[in-house]
Amino acid sequence: MITVLHVVNQFFAGLGGEEKAGLPVAVNDGAAGAARGLQLQLGDQATIACTISYGDNYFHEHKEQALQAILEAVQSRHAPLLVAGPAFNSGRYGLSCIEICRAVADALDISCVTAMHEENPAIGTYRDLGDARIYCLPTTETAAGMTDALQRMAHFILRLARGESIGPAQREGYIARGIRRLEKAERPGADRAIDMLLKKIAGEPFATEIPMEAWEPVSPAPPLTQLRDRKLAIVTTSGVVPWGNPDRFKTYRNTHWQKYNIAEVKELEPGKWEAVHGGYNVVYMNRNPHYGVPLDALRALEAEGVIGPGKLYPAYYVIPGNQGSPAVMRRVGQEIAADLKKDGVEGVLLVAT
């Protein structure tokens, strides 16, 4: 008999709504609340050993204690599998499900299954984690889809518990985590690509093997008026840094940015700067760093009065962008934005290689 543990919030444990969101972690033997529904779907093939519940607010306000209590409960039951949710489109609940899965997978190295709507804000965290032990199944937006969600979760749990190998997200129906695995295909890539191309030309439907991530739009910041009076700064992912790479940037997967002084600098002389970047041939950039930091052009525009005197920020910002993960680059963007705003910068020229 397979044993699983089910983690749910206070609402789906049947303890109450918003007024009970401060409840601490509680462990009840057997299946309670939504876990009863899951037990029904699992039938006699698996048993929910206990239901762990917590208040939505309690979790986020006492995260360390909450995770600790949940970890202890899971550890003491020696279950091979943890189930959390389904959280539908609830942001707080969704995020706690993902964080519990992460903590349990990290500490105990067991598989975790959760479920929620694909637009739940926690899906971003799930994708960023990209943890092969954590699976999130898609659900409807509201609990109206509870039975269907539990049914699919049960099916997935049983397959995992039996040690079946789980294929790619597209085929298996869980939400893609961006993990790529090597697999042997029956036909070489060139053949498959030409098939796809012919179908595309003929206007027939075809399925890409590498779907592109869908990116959320950001409302454009308002345009600058009276440009001459605006403070501008240069940011670049080209990896142009002072010669000798004093801050030891790597050629890929950097996690920190730097800013380098250009206050009294008229132009970037070759030999005083170099490009650290593993994603393109840096020969041209080393010969003329202005390809990544166009300081000569900016100084010329300053002399012409297009850019006001002293309006070019006296340092430029850099991180070599090669293989930067979206999560890291988001954080770097936020940090640079905070630094720029602190110094009153109003517009940015970003050169990306």
Binding site: N288, A297, L340, K341, G347, A352
Partner: protein, 83 residues
């Protein structure tokens, strides 16, 4: 990065030779760069023309910052950058 800067209220003109990718990730003010290893200029040009090209690219970026856009918008420097 560009999007986080915009979220903070800073307009960003992003110069990139991979502008289709930049459009896809939904940056808003996009300036067509020359090529991946040298977005701001072209080393095959004589030095003075290269500098002029770079000035035009930066000028286009400044124009982009002054432009009201509703979503990803491509700005092309006023020279033939595709060779």
């Amino acid at each position: 990065m560009s999007k986080e800067l915009e979220k903070a209220g800073l307009p960003v003109a992003i110069v990139s030779a991979m502008y289709p990718v930049v459009e896809q990730v939904r940056a808003n003010r996009i300036v067509k760069g020359v090529s991946i290893p040298h977005p701001c200029g072209d080393p095959s040009l004589p030095q003075d023309l290269d500098a002029r090209l770079r000035r035009e690219i930066v000028r286009t970026a400044l124009r982009a910052l002054e432009s009201d856009v509703q979503g990803p918008t491509l700005f092309s420097p006023d020279v033939a950058v595709n060779r």
